[in-house]
């Protein structure tokens, strides 16, 4: 388990070197070639993954999910933070370091 601190303003982005393939609108498989691991994502998990091609704050992910699924915002926040933490543990995404402005 990760003990890193994630907040709604944390910005995350998908790793660029993963292979991924849509099996249907709701199902996706990916592979981490270096480690030889395969992953399958379905439904909301896939919807979250689909927006992570660009750096996103966790809040912005939540807003998109709430909008798309007409879901309870508080529940979406809790579930999204948990899922983002899991993806960080699996190294499927990274925390995006913004350029520090002078």
């Amino acid at each position: 388990m990760s003990n890193r601190k994630l907040s709604l303003t944390t910005i995350v982005v998908a790793r660029e070197d993963l292979l991924s393939s849509n099996l249907s609108d709701e199902e996706l498989v990916m592979m981490d070639i270096d480690r030889g691991y395969y992953y399958g994502l379905e439904n909301v998990a896939k919807a979250i993954w689909d927006v992570l091609g660009q750096p996103q704050s966790i809040l912005s992910i939540c807003n998109k999910i709430v909008e798309e699924y007409d879901a309870d915002p508080q529940m979406v926040k809790e579930d999204t933070i948990k899922f983002v933490g899991e993806m960080l543990d699996e190294k499927l995404i990274v925390i995006y370091e913004e350029k520090k402005s002078a």
Partner: protein
């Protein structure tokens, strides 16, 4: 003396006699795709002791103690070094199994562990671990008039629209003695697969389908402690997982650095081909009923997930 053979849509020229493969005319204009040579392998190819292999993107070396060593290169050559005291039929088992598997991987086919028949709707694959009953079911389907395409090492290619197509292997199947007995095939006089195994080679050239066919259905053969026979369609992610698990010698992909094309082909199959779990009770094979259920399923099924069905005995007359 060289022999000329045809298998997996490829033309082979071989130093070694391979009665498993159909011979073709040597005078043909068609170029040779793969050379099978007898030779000595350089002793500086270091290998782990025992059964083992090593691979880089172009070469695959397989060591089978007391039988042979095989070097598979660039998808177009296999050098075979039979070891002292080995028996030719044993040398051929590993040539046609693991070494051919590596060859097809190198040629970037999707290589699956399956037996395959041709049906009016396309190729039907029976997959599953060794002992699941792939060859027995294949034999039963042939008894019912379907032609075989593959027994054991199945090559799959994508057509120009990325549709998965099964390439015909060669007209040879292997049956355990008890399965042969169930199918009324006499094993008297048939060669054994390996000296110590009660498994026999059956050559069936008249019951072979020799052209490439779109993949229609995959059935994963499984046992259950229940008494019911049933077929369950899998959702796409589990289909993908099933293709991975039933990729022939999956671990070869790492050394050959072929995970990436394999991932792409496996996802095309998972997207387009129905994959079903075909379950039978572990107590008692019930071959006829099991084959009835599967035949019924692939004959009247376009493969949509909502057409899952479970079958009870006797429904198929």
């Amino acid at each position: 003396m060289a022999y000329n053979y045809q298998a997996y849509g490829l033309r082979f020229r071989s130093d070694m006699w391979l009665p498993e493969l159909p011979e073709v005319e040597s005078a043909s204009e068609e170029p040779v795709d793969v050379f099978l040579r007898l030779g000595r392998l350089s002793s500086d190819l270091k290998l782990a002791r025992g059964y083992g292999y090593q691979a880089n993107p172009d070469e695959f070396l397989l060591n089978c103690p007391d039988i042979a060593r095989y070097l598979v290169s660039n998808g177009n050559e296999i050098v075979i070094e039979p070891l002292h005291g080995s028996i030719d039929s044993d040398v051929r088992v590993f040539l046609l199994g693991s070494a051919f598997g590596a060859l097809l991987h190198q040629r970037q086919l999707l290589v699956m562990h399956a037996s395959v028949i041709n049906t009016p709707r396309g190729a039907v694959l029976f997959s599953g671990p060794s002992g699941a009953g792939k060859s027995t079911l294949l034999g039963e389907m042939m008894r019912r008039g379907y032609r075989m395409m593959v027994d054991d090492v199945c090559g799959v290619v994508l057509d120009s629209h990325n549709l998965p197509m099964v390439v015909p292997g060669y007209p040879r199947t292997r049956l355990w003695a008890d399965s042969a007995a169930k199918l009324d095939v006499s094993t008297v006089g048939l060669p054994r697969t390996r000296q110590m195994l009660d498994k026999y080679e059956c050559q069936l050239p008249d019951q072979f389908h020799d052209s490439t066919v779109p993949m229609h259905q995959i059935y994963l053969l499984a046992n259950s402690t229940n008494t019911e026979l049933k077929i369950e369609g899998l959702p796409a992610i589990h289909k993908f997982e099933a293709v991975l698990q039933n990729t022939y010698r999956n671990s070869f992909l790492d050394g050959l650095e072929l995970r990436q094309p394999h991932f792409s082909m496996a996802s095309h199959v998972a997207r387009q081909v129905p994959v079903n779990r075909a379950i039978r009770p572990s107590a008692g094979f019930r071959l006829t009923e099991f084959a009835d259920m599967i035949e019924n399923h692939f004959s009247c099924n376009s493969g949509d997930l909502d057409s899952n069905a479970s079958f009870r005995s006797g429904t198929n007359g």
